[in-house]
């Protein structure tokens, strides 16, 4: 007989312990986040905030078996790079470009703990409602990713990615953990915009050159210069205004806060500097970064017939 031997007795005891021990613990699982899920967000061009969520089942029960009591759990998430860093997506070719994001967790069950914003590498303060028996009530957990438009505008165009580690802690005595992964991909389109344009109405001519202008905003996401191309409403884009019969020529200059340059109609001024990169309106036009100035020479005004002269100037900026 097997038990006749003292050694055999110890072997049987060891086997029983091996079998019994797991059965005395609960279970924690993170559903489809294990081994991992990939979220490909739609390309972002000129939209607003991004908000996207992933629903899944967190199984947390006290003991094994499909009827084991449900156990509460906590959840945390962190970047797969440095756990304590703020949540961000990293530019694939320029790691210095970080798109900051936020995560929040929602307990989807009616008696659940509601929504809680996550802090990197810290378990939620609230107990969440776990599930047993493979989540018979369906999903019970939601992770929502938020990206503010302000943050989206402030980074370069390109592809961004981060693999987030999602960890739950629950089961018997709330001490068991399980880890899943959530990879987020996002492509931001290169963007440029000119704004803050104003009509120009010159004061009456009294013998001196008429000079007027204003500052405006040129935004582009990411590092780089831009080009400016201007045209007037005269023939072939000429810088002229008209009273319907006669023409008055004008000249124009562009200042990009680095240099003032004469603008030639339909000829690109390349290498313009200092585009605003934080938002498309230069902080609501309080930080405009370019100035357009229009001049009508007295020598032209002096020989012109009286009347109201008008014309349209078009400005086109393009990223370089």
């Amino acid at each position: 007989m097997l038990l006749k031997s003292k050694n055999n007795y110890f072997i049987l005891l060891a086997v029983l312990l091996f079998v019994i021990t797991p059965l005395s613990h609960g279970t924690v699982r993170v559903g489809k986040l294990d081994p991992g899920k990939v979220v490909n967000l739609p390309d972002w061009s000129n939209g607003g905030d991004i908000s996207s969520f992933v629903d899944f089942c967190v199984l947390s029960q006290d003991g094994n078996g499909k009827n084991a009591p449900i156990a509460p759990y906590q959840i945390r998430a962190f970047n797969n790079t440095i756990a304590t860093d703020p949540y961000y997506l990293e530019h694939l070719t320029d790691p210095t470009q970080k798109l900051f994001v936020s995560w929040e967790h929602t307990d989807l069950l009616p008696a659940g703990g509601g929504t809680e914003t996550l802090t990197p590498n810290q378990f939620t303060a609230q107990n969440k409602t776990g599930a047993n028996n493979r989540c018979p009530a369906g999903i019970n957990s939601r992770l929502t990713l938020h990206i503010n438009a302000a943050d989206l505008f402030s980074v370069s165009g390109g592809s961004y990615r981060m693999r987030f580690v999602v960890e739950v802690q629950g089961g018997t005595n709330g001490t068991e953990t399980k880890t899943g992964f959530l990879t987020v991909n996002l492509t931001i389109t290169p963007l440029i915009q000119i704004s803050g344009l104003q009509d120009i109405f010159f004061p009456p001519y009294t013998g001196a050159d008429l000079v007027s202008g204003y500052s405006l905003c040129v935004y582009r996401n990411g590092v780089g210069t831009y080009s400016l191309t201007a045209s007037g409403s005269g023939a072939g884009g000429a810088f002229t205004i008209t009273n319907g019969v006669d023409l008055l020529p004008y000249t124009a200059t562009w200042n990009d806060t680095a240099v003032t340059s004469n603008i030639i109609s339909n000829t690109a001024l390349t290498g313009r500097q200092n585009p605003f990169t934080a938002n498309p309106t230069c902080n609501s036009y309080s930080a405009n970064n370019a100035t357009i100035q229009i001049t009508i020479l007295a020598t032209d005004l002096g020989v012109a017939a009286s009347g109201t002269y008008s014309g349209i100037m078009t400005l086109i900026v393009a990223p370089e």
């Binding site: 915009q193 009509d199 009456p204 205004i241 017939a305 002269y309 393009a318």
Partner: protein, 179 residues
């Protein structure tokens, strides 16, 4: 004789019918991957402008007992666009109290004079026919460089013979207006 310089800037001719883009207002560009295009309206209102310049005080030659005495003064009239203008010439009565072509010796004696504008006789307070001024240079190129109008003052022999000796003065005002 003393001339008063006069410059008149005409009322702005707001020929609103000529404004082709009154409803236009500036447009910001759109946020775009390739380029962004905005536009704005430029407007300049150029009113009628006129100017008289290069006027000088005039000293008539001394009367020698025979013939009238006269002198001329050339000056510049600028008017933008068409160049068309009229001039109104007015004396001050010599004593500054009237509106006639008179010179005054400071006491009780007056000497009437006559005036021609570009060769055409004109009465005090009278207005010329429509004339054409310089349309490109507000000063005709400089002081007395290319004057385009002339006024002549003449005191008749009979007046001179009937007047006591003395120094007579008066002010002549030329008012030009765009047409």
């Amino acid at each position: 004789m003393k001339f008063m310089k006069s410059i008149k800037v005409g009322l702005f001719a707001l020929s609103l019918g000529l404004i082709t883009n009154t409803a236009f207002s500036a447009n910001d560009g759109l946020l775009d991957p390739v380029n962004s295009s905005g536009d704005f309206l430029i407007t300049a209102v150029l009113g009628d402008l006129i100017r008289i310049s290069s006027l000088d005080d005039m000293v008539l030659p001394a009367f020698t007992g025979v013939g009238s005495i006269s002198n001329s003064e050339a000056f510049c009239v600028y008017r933008n666009g068409t160049g068309l203008y009229t001039a109104t010439v007015t004396g001050d009565g010599g004593d500054g109290l009237g509106a006639t072509f008179n010179l005054w010796d400071g006491t009780t004696n007056f000497m009437p004079y006559t005036v021609t504008y570009n060769g055409n006789p004109i009465l005090s307070g009278g207005t010329t026919a429509t004339l054409t001024g310089n349309t490109t240079l507000t000063d005709c190129g400089g002081v007395n460089v290319a004057n385009n109008a002339t006024i002549v003052v003449d005191v008749a022999e009979s007046v001179l013979l009937a007047s006591p000796a003395g120094t007579y003065t008066g002010t002549l005002t030329i008012l030009v207006a765009p047409m």
